[in-house]
Symmetry: C2
């Protein structure tokens, strides 16, 4: 009984490690070439597994992409919630700067993910629900910080959140040179957004 | 000579009117269904002309789309420049509010155009140069207003412009519900952006 339980665990662990490799391989392919770069063969090759075990685990390419979407958006949500929990205990001005810094960091870290699922995958029905669950969770979290810690009205918090979200979306969609001639200084962008988020200017 | 000149002019006028109808038909189709809705047959039907005269005028579908891109982005640029020229003579606080209001209006009016050429057409080589010429012109105009009238440093103006551009880009790409649960009050969004643009808070 005990031995059987243990053996099952080892098999499970192998399965989980293999699943993680497949998801990691998909993430790397998304970063390199977006959704079209993700084929079952390319993921299997990169994860060092067979097409068969990928089909066995995820059903088909769409099943794989949905699992990866859920895994990566869950990771993004956890990081965002953790960042907000750290910010909420700070003094208001510091909380504003921290929240903006973390938002910009998350936009940059998750650029390929946001681009693949929110931009490229925007009109693919299968992705729509999970995308909306993610944006709604992030909005609710961020707006509650803006209201509770920075003293904004809910309507003001919604407008400020929309601006922050837009900056992330545009960065996922465009290169610097597609937006204006030459890059924008990141510390200046952070300063502008921190001013937007800061209390007292309503 | 005079008569010949006059006849040519009438023929030219007919040609120009027909060209305008084709461009207007394309704009309407873009608004309804994006780039994929624009086919030579659909444009000809809507403009009340033949496929043949459309091919004669534009060469092919890509020629038509490039002409429409140029026509619509030129119109956007003219409106933006005119709005900025009106804003630049106002008192700073009023100039800020006016510039933001006009930017939000242009984003809304040109949503189908921005979506078709900047979002859908982003990776289509033929559109890239004209898109960049448009964004660079808008950036240069807006940033010069921010520097000359609102007293910002050039680096601050670049960051503020980036934020405004992002709001327009996100509105072109996403529905309200894809960004957060429920729409953002437009007057609140305008207030938040006006604060961003206003002098004195640097």
């Amino acid at each position: 009984m005990c031995k059987g339980g243990r053996m099952r665990t080892v098999a499970q662990q192998r399965g989980e490690a293999s699943t993680r490799r497949m998801i990691e391989a998909t993430r790397a392919l998304l970063a390199e070439g977006g959704l079209t770069a993700v084929t079952v063969a390319a993921v299997a090759r990169r994860a060092g597994t067979s097409n068969g075990s990928l089909y066995h685990r995820f059903g088909d390419r769409q099943g794989l992409l949905l699992a990866v979407q859920d895994s990566l958006l869950t990771a993004l949500e956890s990081e965002a919630v953790a960042a907000m929990e750290e910010a909420v205990v700070l003094e208001p001005q510091e909380a504003a700067a921290r929240a903006v810094g973390e938002a910009l960091r998350l936009f940059a870290d998750y650029r390929p993910v946001l681009r693949a699922f929110f931009v490229e995958g925007q009109s693919i029905d299968a992705f729509v629900d999970r995308n909306a669950r993610c944006t709604h969770l992030l909005a609710a979290q961020a707006e509650s910080l803006l209201v509770e810690r920075l003293g904004m009205t809910p309507t003001r918090a919604a407008a400020v959140y929309r601006v922050l979200f837009s900056v992330g979306a545009a960065q996922s969609l465009f290169t610097e040179d597609q937006m204006r001639q030459g890059p924008v200084a990141q510390d200046e962008l952070a300063a502008v957004l921190t001013r937007l988020v800061s209390p007292g200017g309503q």
